[in-house]
């Protein structure tokens, strides 16, 4: 289906045919949902053994009673898990509560209001504070910036990661730019893994940034969430920073939310001693310590060598058919034309789809009216504004394969219908 060379007559005919298919679907009164980037019930059940796993043993190997107060860093057992996921030494890992978003908000608040290297380094001391946001990206990263009054500067994502020429130019010339959000592996939503070159250039930013208090927020949310058996390895940002002498320029985050229980996992912050100490100076005012018992549960659950990887394999077995179903529909419908573009994600939770410019909102509307809920168009851009109105985030993990299949059938028709109507009116 190539609309570029089609006559007005052909387009009208196609529109009539697609509108007929669309109306037929509407009569089915579907109720499908591709919006939610969260684990399915089947995935959650993989971790059901967590509650009760301690069997009355509440003490760490180092003799700490997890039931009582204290321990701002969390327990060594979960520091080890965090270190393995984030790829840095255990002593550089702090383990928190159930939410890496909380750790990210706290870390950004500390950097903004209090300074990670003393009050003089607080971003809020300056009139304007800016942050680079690769787009499309994760809406909750944007909302942290919005909450703190930090202005967002967008740079486009490429298949290798953020557009680094643009990032380097901005960071070197504008001292109001205090950092950048990154989801380096299976990027939310494009599914891209940052290339070795990109990671090294990001690690080097700490040497060239106009701002002295520059910090990369490296949200490695999908670090172990591979769908392929031979996943592409993400280059270690920590090693790259050590090589560049920029360890203080990066804060790494992860959690077990999409490994064990989404709402009751353990969150990790990996950072240099300087950053950790600056962070903990504020954290100590906010809490007496994280839930160490839940940390101990996780340590016990992943005690055996290789158990985390084996566990993630089970997740992949559940998720893979859903991703494959989405890709099958996209390939069938759009490989021979220019109505849609996407990355073939090998992990993470999303498939990102680009319509022709100006159609994302219309597609989401059409799909919604036909009973298929999609993430609002624009959600993957700061302030909810996609300037090209083309990006749609597809989240296929929660529905069953059959539901994904039915929803994607509707999705494809909506994209085609909106595209044909645009061509007719354009």
């Amino acid at each position: 289906m190539n609309l570029n060379n089609a006559s007005a007559e052909q387009l009208a005919e196609l529109e009539e045919q697609l509108a007929g298919e669309y109306d037929a679907i509407k009569t089915q009164q579907l109720n499908l949902d591709l919006t939610r980037g969260k684990p399915s019930s089947e995935q959650l059940t993989l971790s059901n053994a967590l509650d009760g796993i301690l069997k009355g043993e509440y003490t760490t190997s180092s003799g700490v009673d997890c039931r009582n107060y204290g321990g701002l860093d969390g327990i060594p057992e979960t520091q080890t898990i965090g270190a393995s996921i984030l790829g840095l030494p255990q002593e550089n890992v702090l383990t928190g509560g159930n939410s890496s978003l909380t750790l990210m908000h706290q870390a950004m608040s500390v950097a903004h209001f209090f300074g990670l290297q003393g009050p003089g380094s607080a971003w809020s001391k300056e009139e304007t504070v800016k942050f680079i946001c690769p787009v499309p990206g994760y809406d909750r990263h944007y909302s942290v910036c919005e909450h703190l009054g930090i202005e967002m500067i967008t740079v486009p994502m490429t298949a290798q990661g953020p557009h680094m020429d643009e990032v380097e130019r901005l960071v070197a010339t504008d001292s109001a730019i205090k950092g950048m959000w990154c989801v380096p592996k299976y990027s939310n939503p494009t599914g891209v893994i940052y290339s070795e070159d990109t990671v090294k250039r990001i690690a080097a930013l700490g040497n060239t940034s106009a701002a002295k208090n520059f910090r990369i927020f490296w949200d490695n949310a999908y670090g172990v969430h591979d769908l392929s058996d031979q996943p592409v390895q993400l280059t270690s940002i920590w090693d790259a920073c050590v090589a560049a002498g920029t360890e203080n320029s990066v804060l790494q985050f992860a959690s077990t939310s999409k490994i064990t229980f989404a709402g009751a996992g353990v969150a990790f912050l990996g950072a240099s001693e300087t950053n950790l100490s600056g962070f903990k100076q504020s954290l100590g005012f906010m809490t007496i310590g994280p839930d160490k018992i839940n940390q101990l549960r996780h340590a016990k659950f992943f005690e055996e060598e290789g158990s985390l990887r084996r566990h993630m394999k089970k997740h992949a077995d559940i998720i893979k058919p859903r991703f494959a179903c989405v890709l099958k529909h996209l390939e069938t419908a759009f490989t021979d034309n220019d109505l849609g573009a996407w990355e073939s994600a090998n992990g993470g939770y999303f498939i990102s789809f680009d319509t022709k410019p100006g159609l994302a909102k219309e597609v989401v509307k059409l799909a919604g009216e036909a009973g298929v809920k999609l993430t609002p168009a624009g959600a993957t851009f700061p302030y909810g504004k996609d300037p090209s109105d083309c990006n749609i985030r597809i989240a296929p993990t929660v529905p069953s394969v059959e539901q994904v299949d039915a929803a994607m059938e509707v999705f494809v028709i909506c994209v085609k219908l909106a595209s044909v109507r645009q061509a007719l009116n354009g």
Copy 2:
């Protein structure tokens, strides 16, 4: 032992005798600790059934899967528990993670930086922000203020609660005063329960405060922590606010930290719909929701009618002999003289002791050198500065009764010795 009428010779003789006793104790090389306001291992064991209590059932009565993301308010089952402890309707309770300190820091941060009733109500818009701190009080309350750059104004505690004439005068005349910290039941450290009159006058402050964005932070940390079978009832601040039409002027806090597991309990915020909505507007940027599984564990643990009260009775059985031991030593040593003053606490975690002015630091030092660790003198005052240098906080829950007994013997000798030396040199 009345030093006021003693001759120099008598004092010198007494000093020699006490110094001898003190030196004898030093040779024992004791290692005792009365600093920690946390539950003993024996108390924590009362809640060991928590882990594993769910037996694979992760769903609330309303059908929410606690394993997944979401639910900023927490689950209804723990809202009920919070409502019962704080004494307000369930819909006015938000249940959070493992730390009420975190909720308090978050609430104060929101009020300060973002405003509980929109950006115009943010305290930080104004040059100077002040908070009333009854003294002696809880050091972690002070440190939240210190962290946020909020100036602390002290008012003395009385046996009925904060000195209300002073509080009312300050609040009515200084619009920079944005609120007051309160521990209304078994106040930390004095053990006082605020009188009905005090509670009603505090509830009325919202009508007379010079500041429009005035908020009482009501930390009811020991609301169910009675040692007596017939405890004095704390007047409901919520009812008093409803009567005065000042529901928006109070934020209430509590947690199960000293009920179940100190580090892995559930925290509560009780507030008006306006305050809750203002708080959640910011909270939604910080987290996707609390650990609902741990909340469900607590709901299950306290499912049976009256089980919370029965559980607290078991705590009381463990704590009571320790408190009684402290009081016995104080009564024996200081009833017939003016060397020390204290409240006879019927609950909570502390006994507050006042030496003669200028002696607290010296007593803490003497005790430390004799192997008895006490909370640093001044810790119960903002900025760590007790202007009279007289207040010492005694925390007897962690050591055994025998250890408390041994430690208090040393304590008493140290108070006497410091007092005699002061009289000699004075």
